[in-house]
């Protein structure tokens, strides 16, 4: 996902033709999000309400009240697409209809047996699911303490999926959804190219026209992925405006969508963006957690004790966590990118160092300076290099349901090498962040604690990068 230059990319507004028919009061202009002066405190909470309708305000208060420590009572999301105060739909009016249409289609397909059957078949025969839950013997041994005690490490092998990462779960489902909606044209933006490749892949499979927006600078750095996308039949459009990177590509993609919304579906790659995307993308990835529950039951007759996943936008983490949110005895840990270090200013640790604001249509934590300008993030791994995070993660953090930590580039590279050597599986640099966190986590875990780590992608794409830094 991209940075967009300012926190208030989308101007929230309500008009008479809005689909939000439950609003009874006349349309009102919502104030633009304006940052407070630098003396603001950490506990500042943004209230950027869509309307002055008191019933709405009450509903929100209701949500927060009941959203105590019982996750089963949480609305994830509510009818506005909110997770607590996070989420929502901060988009231009032209996109409101498309989003509502998407939401309606999504809900109806959830109960459509034909769709579910077709999707299950594709996930099995095309993507290669179910992915194994693999007991990492040598990694477990590595973390065994001197007295012989230690946790048991299991890896959920999303790296074995077609195209080598979890991304395809969502891409395949959204492409199928787009077909159902009668859309023939798919657009997406991409930074390093992974999401672009996944999108181009499914478009080839379903015979859909595919246009990928990519910053001209990124195209130069990722020539191999550009070639791959073209080989798969996609058109890769270079974006030369701004810094010619991901955030500019996103703006271009959104511009395209606004212009061609009748014929075009925008495949968003993560659990960020306006409602219904965070919910949809999470639900499409939820197969990861569902399988894990079943496999854990088969393997050891119980549930995992700890779930660990890397967090960029947050899709692979939500895919694993979602199934277990209501199981309060299952600990959930997200690991973000600390880049050169949290104090260096060059990182992507949104939940640790960010503040609440609106980015790309949703309210969530994001990396912003005192003027509300987006801070350019950094991580050695392109997939974690995002200044925002999915709103549901922001919610889970605030509710204390999930814990979030961060890992530097260096620690990630060490884990990359370690796991390659110990298990013969080369992890993606993104996944390496989750693997690196095991170093701090495992010594604190009781004997026999079962850790399931989402092995979100394979590292073939990162071999050239890693070799530069590692002595091999």
């Amino acid at each position: 996902m991209a940075t967009s230059g300012t926190a208030s990319t989308f101007r929230p507004s309500v008009s008479a033709s809005s689909r939000l028919t439950h609003l009874r009061s006349p349309p009102s202009k919502v104030p633009l999000f304006t940052p407070l002066p630098s003396s603001r405190s950490r506990s500042f909470s943004v209230s950027c309400t869509i309307a002055k309708d008191p019933t709405f305000l009450m509903a929100e208060a209701e949500n927060t009240k009941t959203a105590g420590s019982d996750p089963t009572l949480w609305k994830r999301p509510d009818s506005f697409g909110r997770f607590g105060k996070f989420g929502g739909k901060y988009v231009p009016e032209t996109l409101m209809h498309a989003l509502s249409e998407l939401e309606t289609a999504f809900y109806s397909l959830a109960t459509d047996d034909d769709f579910q059957r077709e999707l299950a078949g594709i996930l099995k025969d095309y993507v290669g699911r179910e992915s194994p839950l693999y007991f990492a013997e040598r990694l477990t041994e590595h973390y065994r303490r001197e007295n012989g005690e230690g946790p048991l490490i299991y890896l959920k092998r999303e790296d074995l999926n077609h195209t080598g990462a979890h991304k395809i779960n969502n891409a395949v489902a959204q492409a199928l959804l787009a077909k159902r909606l009668g859309k023939k044209r798919i657009i997406a933006e991409t930074g390093a190219g992974q999401h672009g490749v996944a999108t181009a892949t499914v478009c080839a499979r379903f015979g859909l026209q595919c246009i990928i927006y990519m910053g001209a600078q990124d195209m130069e750095r990722q020539a191999l992925n550009v070639f791959r996308m073209r080989l798969l039949g996609a058109e890769v459009r270079g974006v030369h405006s701004g810094t010619a990177t991901l955030k500019d590509a996103t703006s271009e993609a959104i511009r395209d969508w606004v212009t061609n919304v009748e014929t075009t579906h925008y495949i968003l790659g993560s659990v960020a963006g306006p409602h219904p995307y965070p919910m949809m993308v999470r639900d499409f990835h939820a197969v990861i957690g569902k399988e894990t529950r079943r496999q854990a039951m088969e393997k050891w007759g119980g549930k995992p004790d700890v779930l660990v996943a890397c967090v960029g936008g947050g899709s692979n983490a939500m895919g694993l966590f979602h199934e277990f949110v209501d199981d309060t005895e299952v600990r959930m840990i997200g690991v973000e990118a600390a880049g050169f270090g949290l104090d260096s200013g060059k990182h992507a640790a949104t939940l640790t160092k960010g503040d609440v604001g609106v980015l790309h249509g949703a309210m969530s934590y994001l990396l912003q300076d005192d003027d509300g300008q987006i801070i350019e993030p950094h991580s050695i791994s392109a997939g974690l290099d995002y200044p925002g995070v999915g709103p549901e993660h922001s919610f889970l953090k605030d509710m204390g349901r999930a814990e979030y930590y961060s890992v530097t580039d260096e620690e990630a590279l060490e884990a990359f090498k370690r796991v390659s050597r110990l298990e013969g599986i080369i992890p993606a640099l993104e996944t390496s962040h989750a693997l690196a966190h095991l170093e701090k986590l495992c010594p604190t875990l009781p004997d026999g604690a079962r850790v399931v780590l989402n092995f979100s992608g394979r590292g073939d794409k990162d071999v050239q990068t890693a070799i530069k830094y590692l002595e091999v």
């Binding site: 025969d125 007991f135 080839a204 070799i467």
Partner: protein
């Protein structure tokens, strides 16, 4: 098959610690292994019948080779005396593990959880439609299914064998594994398996191949393997690896990547790869309640082909089609079409077809699919050709590249250039088949490793 290993219930299985472990009774394919083996490391161009032809009357048993590692007149054990003893040990060990419950369970678990088996049998709807449109028939046309070995850990079928053999190496007490690799897939698979089983790994690779498949070289190093470059290509790397093995017999295991070499290599590798065919039978039954009509696979040395074919050797109604590399054309002299234009001789320890000149010197093979670039072919494959059980054709570099691009565009799967040879042959095969014929193509690997090669060939305008 019987075994004399006695395991006392409740006691840990006696682990093999030394290389002197012997089985009293070794049985392979229902025939006891004879202790006298003929040694001959002579390279011949003429082919007088060697060894005795098995007298079994059961046709399918005959097709599976005899206890001496012979498939008809092909195969055998043409090695220096120093290797006879370790090869015997290997035979014994392999024979044991075939029936050892503990080994088989460990292997099955690893294949499921580590490698990601079973691989799907995927109905390629758009590819099927493409051929239907070309032929403009009114009927349904044949149906094309892809056996997705590209989804396996490390990206090809090679891991099935690397894992099985690495487990045997560990049982034999070896600390070190050596292997030779062409495209790098076998090297990566071996490095991965050795990392998992905590063994040292040295991979020999030809200098030309190292250049063409550099990403695989980096992967091997990351997985902890040592990569040694050898002047030339796969055949030269193989020779060097064998030399290294012979020089370190006590501690080292030679992990062959394909169905060539002296007995028991062809048999062992084929057995480990045969999981492909076994799954295919089960999946075909589930999907359409029958068997495949035609099986298609690319043939370099023949491991992925035999892995798919072996299960169906006894099913006469299943056609077996192998596709070799015609490189720049059979007349150009730059190809690897061993079965098409080769002669019988002995190479790397076994008798088989090979590309040789009039003086019996090995010819330098060529293919854009580096994994197919081998001047020999597995003895069992030679036998399948000679007995007429399987048919063999060829596809050129150009045809393979076209097929790669077609599958990418139609199905969103970028196949390895090796597998693309099998896909290329569909152009000629499909028009000859009846409507509804079920074709299973072994998609033996993914094409990420070949992107640089494809880029160098330039982008045809039809892609943009």
């Amino acid at each position: 098959m019987s075994s004399t290993k006695i395991q006392i219930r409740g006691q840990p299985l006696f682990k093999v610690l030394t290389r002197n472990h012997r089985m009293i009774n070794s049985v392979v394919c229902g025939v006891p292994i004879k202790r006298q083996h003929r040694v001959s490391n002579v390279l011949r161009t003429s082919d007088p019948p060697l060894g005795s032809v098995p007298t079994r009357t059961d046709e399918s048993q005959f097709l599976r080779g005899d206890g001496n590692g012979r498939f008809g007149r092909f195969g055998g054990k043409f090695v220096p005396e120093t290797l006879m003893s370790p090869l015997r040990d290997l035979e014994d060990e392999f024979d044991f593990v075939l029936n050892d419950h503990e080994f088989q369970e460990e292997l099955t678990t690893a294949l499921r959880d580590y490698v990601g088996r079973e691989t799907p049998l995927y109905f390629a709807g758009r590819l099927t439609e493409h051929y239907k449109n070309i032929s403009q028939t009114t009927g349904g046309g044949p149906e094309i299914y892809l056996k997705r070995e590209d989804l396996s850990h490390c990206g090809s079928h090679k891991i099935n064998n690397a894992l099985g053999q690495a487990m045997i190496a560990r049982r034999l007490g070896c600390k070190r594994v050596v292997a030779a690799t062409g495209a790098g897939q076998h090297g990566v698979a071996t490095a991965a398996a050795c990392a998992k089983l905590s063994m040292e790994c040295t991979v020999f690779m030809g200098t030309t191949d190292i250049e063409k498949q550099s990403s695989n070289v980096l992967s091997m190093k990351l997985l902890g393997a040592q990569v040694k470059s050898v002047e030339g290509t796969f055949k030269d790397a193989s020779s060097e690896a064998i030399r290294n093995w012979v020089g370190n017999l006590e501690t080292t295991y030679y992990l062959s990547g394909t169905v060539v070499g002296p007995h028991p290599s062809p048999l062992m590798v084929r057995e480990f790869q045969s999981v492909i065919g076994k799954e295919t039978r089960r999946q075909a039954k589930q999907l359409w309640g029958g068997k495949p009509d035609v099986l298609v696979a690319c043939v370099g040395s023949g491991s992925n082909a035999l892995g798919l074919f072996h299960e169906f050797l006894g099913d006469e109604d299943v056609r077996l089609v192998g596709v070799e590399a015609a490189g720049l054309g059979l007349d150009s002299g730059k190809h690897s079409a061993t079965l098409a234009v080769g002669d019988v001789g002995v190479y790397h320890g076994s008798m088989s077809y090979l590309l040789q000149d009039d003086q019996g010197q090995i010819l330098k093979p060529h293919s854009i699919g580096v994994g197919l670039e081998y001047p020999g072919v597995g003895p069992e494959i030679s036998f399948l050709k000679e007995s007429g059980r399987a048919e063999f054709y060829t596809a050129t570099d150009q045809e393979a590249v076209q097929a790669c691009m077609l599958l990418s565009r139609l199905e969103g799967i970028i196949p390895a250039l090796e597998a693309s040879h099998a896909l290329a042959f569909l152009d000629k095969l499909v028009p000859t088949l009846r409507d509804g014929a079920k074709v299973v193509v072994n998609c033996s690997g993914r094409g990420d490793k070949d992107l640089d090669t494809l880029i160098q060939r330039g982008m045809p305008s039809s892609l943009c």
